[in-house]
């Protein structure tokens, strides 16, 4: 009786802890080079569940600093879910459960003692739909630095507002109307305002969740140029539906399919010599 109780424990543990990639024959191991020797952000054996449904299966991937990594894959493959794990935004969804390890500069961000406010100040996020606050342009950018206490005086805040808007390529367009509502800008300007708002906090990593999907081609081109400039100072991870965009802006590409990380590699390698047949079929447009 007692022994049988003990013997049940390891069984439970194996269901909770996922085996490493390759041990489960039903699950394809990630092709390419998901792991790097030097990385800013690294995930190991990440599983995400929405209630009983598993959305991500055993994701292991590294991200290196000062480069753009794009996450591609068909709709519903879990790339946005994965992105939202990196700054613990999934915590806002009640039924979402995350297990596995995500390390930012060697520190596991999912440990309970890690402060989520601090984490999000280090890992900023730009969303799919431009979502400026219904406040003035100045307030939109100044809000982050203000709540984090990065600047106290009006002069300092004005400095941050100006540099952030300049880096986001928006300063010349809005410098004369900083007190007008941010929601009065065009879609592309709003998205650049949201980027300015994110970089105003000086994060280390910027997560972008399809930042151009609601924008026209010209606005998209501006944001893409901006991403190219921002990678000098930030680690950028971008989810995109457009493979052209992925090939234009990113140095590394990760392909997700049905909750599995199928292939990771340099953008050039993934697009020219994909190793996995799913990757090849997706980028040649046979499905997706």
């Amino acid at each position: 009786m007692f022994l049988s109780f003990i013997s049940r424990q390891p069984v439970k543990n194996t269901t909770a802890k996922k085996p490493s990639p390759g041990t489960d024959p039903a699950r394809p191991a990630t092709a390419g080079e998901p792991l790097l020797e030097k990385s800013r952000l690294s995930c190991r054996h990440l599983d995400v569940f929405y209630g009983a449904k598993q959305a991500l299966h055993d994701i292991s991937i590294d991200f290196s600093g000062n480069q753009v990594t794009s996450l591609i894959g068909p709709s519903g493959c879990g790339k946005s879910t994965f992105l939202r794990c990196l700054n613990r935004m999934n915590e806002t969804i009640d039924i979402c459960r995350v297990s596995g390890e995500i390390k930012l500069d060697g520190e596991d961000i999912n440990r309970p003692e890690v402060d989520v406010v601090l984490l999000r100040a280090r890992v900023g996020m730009v969303f799919q739909k431009p979502n400026p606050f219904p406040k003035s342009i100045r307030e939109n950018v100044a809000y982050g630095p203000r709540i984090h206490g990065l600047a106290r005086h009006r002069d300092e805040i004005d400095m941050i507002v100006e540099t952030s808007l300049t880096r986001a390529g928006l300063w010349d367009e809005v410098k004369d109307r900083l007190d007008e509502p941010g929601t009065g800008l065009s879609g592309g300007q709003q998205q650049r305002l949201c980027i300015a708002r994110t970089i105003a906090v000086s994060p280390e990593v910027i997560l972008m969740d399809e930042p151009c999907s609601a924008l026209d081609p010209i606005a998209t081109a501006r944001i893409e140029d901006l991403i190219g400039e921002l990678k000098e100072n930030f680690t950028i991870i971008i989810v995109t539906h457009s493979m052209q965009q992925a090939s234009r802006v990113s140095q590394r590409t990760a392909f997700f399919h049905l909750g599995h990380l199928v292939e990771v590699g340099s953008t050039e390698a993934v697009f020219t010599t994909p190793r996995h047949h799913l990757t090849e079929e997706y980028i040649t447009g046979r499905f997706g």
Partner: protein, 421 residues
């Protein structure tokens, strides 16, 4: 037989065209029905307003008699508060009609003036002590029978004696009898004499009661809505609370009155008939409405705003108070207006806690005995004197005006908080 077997020669356009007229007819029918419903309800509203206004407007004017008052120091005495002002008024009537000598005739003469005339004279002397010793013409309130006679001469004259009618016509010819603006209605509390009964007491009672209600139910309601919607999360306890709040909003109001009687008066020993207790009972009734409206307003705030704030590292509380609450506030205010309007019109719970008493004094504090506008309407509607019929309608007009004023204020507030972008 089925639709696929129709000949291919009939095009889709022809089929659609054949059904078009029927569709448009249905549309027109529905539009007419809607317009009819609006006209019907507007008609009833106009009927109601017309009826109330036609009955209530005469009460805003009051018959007054101008008399030469000699402010005799002997009658006013050393302490003006205790002077014999009734004698002062009678002396003036005697002066106006010196031929009236007989005791019965004098009694009839005195009855032309309201009992309130003496109070009015007292008020004048207390307000301006320099009046003592002077001699001046004053407009004093007439009795409600005289008032009624001036407003409805045909039915009114049956209640007056021929002698009184003769005196009145004499006063009228001298220009000493007139319908003037009813200042007593807006400056006095309730009275047994209809000509002296005013609405100010009930109005103050209503304002105090609503202040207590607002001060309690608004912050508590908003805080509860915020907690339940933003912080509590979804669990069995939250569901249990939600069901109970919804039930609470549907509880008949008299139950809250019973609760107020049992808890606030009997258990806590708070004074009965007081706006404080009335406000407490009404806030129990108003709070669920505010909570439900507040939660709906919070739910309507787009999640993208929450994500934006959380995404740059705002804490939960910062997100809620900097971004979510300002956007939800207009909706919350709407709910509060609805709740307060209901509280303003509520009678039943106040009957249970004794706010139905006959109260002459104008309440000056939250614990002074008071009544409220709807209760005052109920009390006057129950009074036998004819003049109270008009007073009842006039009180309804005041209640409606108060309601409109309150709502207008709330709309202005809401407009101020509403973000235009």
């Amino acid at each position: 037989m089925n639709q696929n077997s129709r000949p291919q020669t009939v095009s889709t356009a022809a089929i659609v065209a054949a059904g078009l007229r029927k569709r448009y007819r249905a549309e027109k029918r529905f539009r007419r029905l809607g317009i009819g419903a609006v006209i019907l309800s507007l008609g009833f509203l106009l009927l109601l307003f017309g009826n109330i206004l036609s009955q209530g407007l005469p009460a805003f004017r009051q018959t007054e008699i101008a008399l030469e008052i000699e402010f005799t120091p002997r009658l006013i005495t050393a302490d003006p508060a205790r002077g014999n002002y009734r004698a002062l008024a009678r002396q003036a009537l005697q002066r106006a009609f010196p031929k009236v000598r007989k005791r019965r005739a004098k009694k009839e003469l005195y009855r032309l003036l309201s009992n309130g005339a003496a109070f009015e004279l007292r008020r004048m002397v207390l307000a301006d002590p320099a009046l003592v010793g002077t001699d001046r013409r004053c407009w004093l309130p007439a009795d409600d029978l005289v008032d009624n006679f001036l407003k409805n001469p045909e039915s009114g004259k049956k209640r007056l004696s021929p002698r009184q009618l003769a005196w009145l016509s004499q006063l009228h010819n001298q220009g000493r009898l007139a319908l003037r603006f009813n200042r007593f209605f807006f400056t006095r509390g309730d009275s047994r004499d209809p000509e002296m009964a005013g609405i100010l007491g009930a109005l103050c009672g209503s304002i105090f009661t609503l202040l207590v209600t607002l001060a309690l139910s608004f912050p508590l309601g908003i805080a509860s809505a915020l907690y339940l919607e933003e912080f509590a999360g979804r669990n069995a306890f939250a569901d249990f609370l939600e069901v109970n709040i919804n039930n609470l909003a549907a509880v008949p109001s008299i139950i809250f009155g019973l609760l107020g009687l049992a808890v606030f008066i009997n258990l806590f020993g708070l004074p009965r008939s007081a706006p404080l207790v009335g406000g407490l009972a009404l806030s129990l009734m108003t709070m669920p409405t505010i909570i439900i409206a507040g939660r709906a307003a919070l739910k309507a705030v787009p999640p993208s705003i929450r994500e934006a704030a959380l995404g740059i590292g705002a804490s939960k509380v910062q997100t809620v108070f900097h971004h979510v609450l300002p956007l939800a506030l207009p909706g919350m205010l709407t709910g509060t207006i609805i709740g307060m309007a209901r509280a303003l019109g509520e009678t039943a719970p106040l009957l249970m806690i004794g706010m139905v008493a006959f109260i002459v004094d104008i309440p000056r504090s939250l614990s002074a005995p008071a009544t409220v506008l709807p209760v005052q309407i109920y009390l006057w509607a129950d009074s036998p004197e004819r003049a109270f019929v008009a007073k009842t309608s006039a009180a309804i007009i005041v209640l409606l005006a108060f309601l409109i004023l309150m709502n207008a204020g709330a709309v202005v507030l809401r407009k101020k908080f509403e973000r235009k972008w």
